[in-house]
Amino acid sequence: MGLIARALEARGVSTVYIGVMLDIVQRIRPPRAVFLDFPLGHPVGKPFDQQLQLSILRDTLAFLETARPPADLLTLSYGWGEPFTYIPGSAANLQGHQDK
């Protein structure tokens, strides 16, 4: 998605990207990115928490106007509230899918 954000900017479209994987965001350098230290699958927050989701979106969209080139990255200060980890492949196992 970061690569597409970059390519859209090269085609005259302004973008803002919400990332939860900081090291990957830093590597890919989307033109405007916000980082949120939330678990994968929750780039806009927790389910049914309308106020949190709206707040994240307002902060993210406001960055369209305040970000400065090149490749600006803003860390949003929301906390997830409990520890979380990432185990690669665990979600695939959860869903019972096999690669083709």
């Binding site: 390519a7 699958g41 389910p47 969209l61 490749a71 869903q95």
Partner: protein, 165 residues
Amino acid sequence: MAPIEYIPLMHAYYQKLGFDDYPIYEPKGDPWTAVRKPLAKSTLSLVCSAGLSRKDQVPYDPRVKDDLSIREIPAETRPEDLIINYSYFDHRDADVDINCVFPLQRLKELENEGFIGRLSPVAYAMGVGRWRDPSTPERLQTEVADDLAGRLRRHAVDAVLMIPT
């Protein structure tokens, strides 16, 4: 707690599966399009790579690699008419509230309160989950980006919210 370092975890996982390192593209240059009008007067669209589709569309197949297809999702689509087809991330929360990854309802609310000028009538879902073909990143940034930029232009979109998963 420091943010998780995903890249080493992915390299280790790929090696365990017998592949080379997890391929991460090294970008060149920093493209930039300045915002031309205030958000409150802009048309905004949404692009999300969660591999979701409307239930009446051809679903994404989580087993297929190099799928660069785009699904157009009308902005008025009801949450219960969407389904996440992918399996690369834990989407149990997004299954019960799709706004966790694809916040069409929240963006509509931001349009209603005047925070954004207009929500584009069409949002876009993509897969781009797994790549095998080395030409995929290049195709993504040329033919797929041309296609997507054309679709956005047809709806006079000024800015796009990009949500990877």
